[in-house]
């Protein structure tokens, strides 16, 4: 269904976009590190 997004709801996303993107990068990097470390110890990747 088409929803009314509300201007403020879009604006707040633009305002915090940088922080959100950075958070995603950190999480992705953390997952990569965990995967690599698990690989070292021979554990199967979940």
């Amino acid at each position: 269904m088409y929803v009314d997004p509300a201007a403020g709801s879009l604006v707040i996303q633009v305002l915090i976009a940088g922080v959100l993107a950075a958070t995603t990068m950190v999480k992705t990097a953390r997952h990569s590190v965990i995967r690599i470390v698990r690989g070292w110890f021979g554990r199967k990747d979940q």
Binding site: M1, V3, A7, V14, A17, L20, T23, T24, K27
Partner: protein, 468 residues
């Protein structure tokens, strides 16, 4: 329901007529969804991307088959699909805390999978989710569109108002706040949520951002142009993924433990001996077996002990209870054991779910979702007749509108539970006797079988609705 203009005689299902991209309709008892030409490109792109197959294969989205455009119920049809039917349509204001939380997490799961394939949920309504076999299932096949990098998520507000706001209110304030969803069909407004939450909720980063600051931004920029405020700045796909991840953390952080309410300890505290419980269970099994129902509504079913007995016979049992804690306990049991065909829901029989939304047609009343083969009303009548002053004849009438057979328990005044109800009030119920009960019910029902329950003073009946 609204009759569609087209070659096929069809009834448009309420709740779907606000979407120009398509609608749901029934024809000869079968449920279909028409996709309109205006949405053809988005729909085809989504199907060919593999997103539908991925979501269906993972039991996240309702499966469908192509039914052929000849079945279209209105002009401008692109395709007509036949989605698998959900046994009982329920609404967020009937769900327990855990059900709403699982529905929220399902919506975020789907959004993440959609983003990974270049799509996005164009709406995030809680009404897009139904429960089947104890698990939430997304039912709106037309909720996806291609995501354009740089665009914010336009359903962010809707997700917060439909899911996060009621969850936070229930978790932080009171589980009964979930009932606000019945008043606010498009989600609990964030400014109201913000006003109802305690000051300490500002200390939680996710609530601060998605509720309090979100509400203030909506007020501040209410009539502003987004382009003028934000200039050339955009929201990268990575930021949208971050937003979804942040919402997931916010939803996960909301908790509620069902304890301390009136009914949740009822099954263990009631005045039945173990022997009487076993006798009642066995009687209920015999009566339900005799009624041979496919569908059952267990009214006042508490945490579902007798719903599970009914489920041994029936394909689909809905267990209603007024107590959010009992419904939550029941739902957790269903999830833990992977039970199928049993749906716990919240319902106040004194104020059952009405027909609401535009023209009273968007959300069905309880009665409109029936009748079922069998209604069960165990240890319930005294609450309606004595605690709430409903004349027994009216109880008989309403149950006759809900089901074709009835398994009902009469609890006499000599029973300790009824004595408790009469402790601080005058006994103004001279007709509340077993004879008065039978007299009131025999107007609408024929008594097939009746039997005393074990060593209790209670009597269990199997009744069939009389032809009107």
């Amino acid at each position: 329901m609204v009759r569609a203009q087209g070659p096929v005689i069809a009834e448009v299902v309420g709740g779907s007529f606000r979407d120009p991209s398509g609608f749901v309709f029934t024809s000869n008892g079968t449920l279909y969804r028409q996709v309109n030409r205006v949405f053809a490109q988005e729909y085809d792109a989504c199907v060919s991307s593999g997103l539908y197959d991925d979501l269906v294969a993972n039991d996240l989205l309702v499966a469908h088959r192509d039914a052929g455009v000849a079945l279209a119920a209105a002009p401008d049809a692109h395709v007509v699909i036949e989605p698998a039917r959900v046994p009982f349509i329920s609404y967020p204001y009937e769900w327990s805390f855990g059900q709403l939380k699982d529905a929220a997490l399902l919506t975020l799961d789907i959004q993440e999978r959609a983003l990974s394939r270049g799509f996005v949920l164009r709406d995030a309504s809680a009404y897009n989710v139904q429960f089947r076999d104890g698990r939430p299932l997304f039912i709106d096949t037309l909720s996806f569109e291609r995501h354009q990098d740089g665009r914010p998520w336009k359903a962010y507000k809707q997700f917060c108002e439909h899911f996060l706001a009621p969850l936070v209110l229930m978790s932080v304030r009171d589980a009964r706040c979930g009932r606000l969803q019945r008043e606010y069909l498009d989600g609990i407004p964030l400014d109201l949520t913000s006003a109802l939450l305690p000051r300490r909720s500002w200390a939680k980063l996710s609530v601060l951002l998605h509720v309090h600051l979100h509400a203030r931004a909506m007020r501040r920029y209410e009539s502003k142009s987004v382009a003028e405020v934000t200039g050339s700045r955009s929201v990268s796909t990575r930021a949208v993924i971050g937003l979804v991840s942040s919402l997931r953390d916010a939803v996960q952080a909301q908790t509620w433990e069902p304890a301390g309410t009136e009914w949740v300890g009822y099954t263990s505290d009631h005045n039945y001996s173990d022997q009487a419980v076993n006798a009642k269970r066995s009687l209920v099994r015999d009566f339900v077996t005799a009624a041979k129902p496919a569908t059952v509504w267990d009214l006042g079913g508490n945490t579902g002990m007798f719903s599970r007995v009914a489920r041994e016979v029936a394909e689909s049992v809905v267990c209603f209870d007024i107590d959010p804690a009992a419904v939550e306990v029941n739902y957790r049991e269903v999830r833990r054991k992977g039970e199928t065909g049993l749906l716990p829901l919240q319902l106040d029989l004194m104020n059952p779910s009405p027909a609401i939304g535009w023209a009273h047609e968007e959300r069905l009343s309880l009665e409109e979702r029936g009748p079922v083969d069998l209604v069960m009303a165990l240890a319930l009548v005294h609450h309606l007749a004595i605690a709430n002053n409903i004349p027994l004849a009216r109880v008989a009438d309403f149950f006759a509108r809900l089901g074709r057979s009835l398994v009902i328990e009469f609890v006499p005044k000599s029973d300790s539970q009824v004595k408790r109800l009469l402790t601080n009030r005058a006994d103004i119920f001279p007709d509340y006797t077993i004879e008065g009960f039978e007299r009131a019910f025999e107007r609408r029902w024929s008594i097939e079988t009746k039997q005393r329950v074990g060593d209790s003073e209670r009597t269990l009946y199997l009744m069939r609705r009389r032809q009107a």
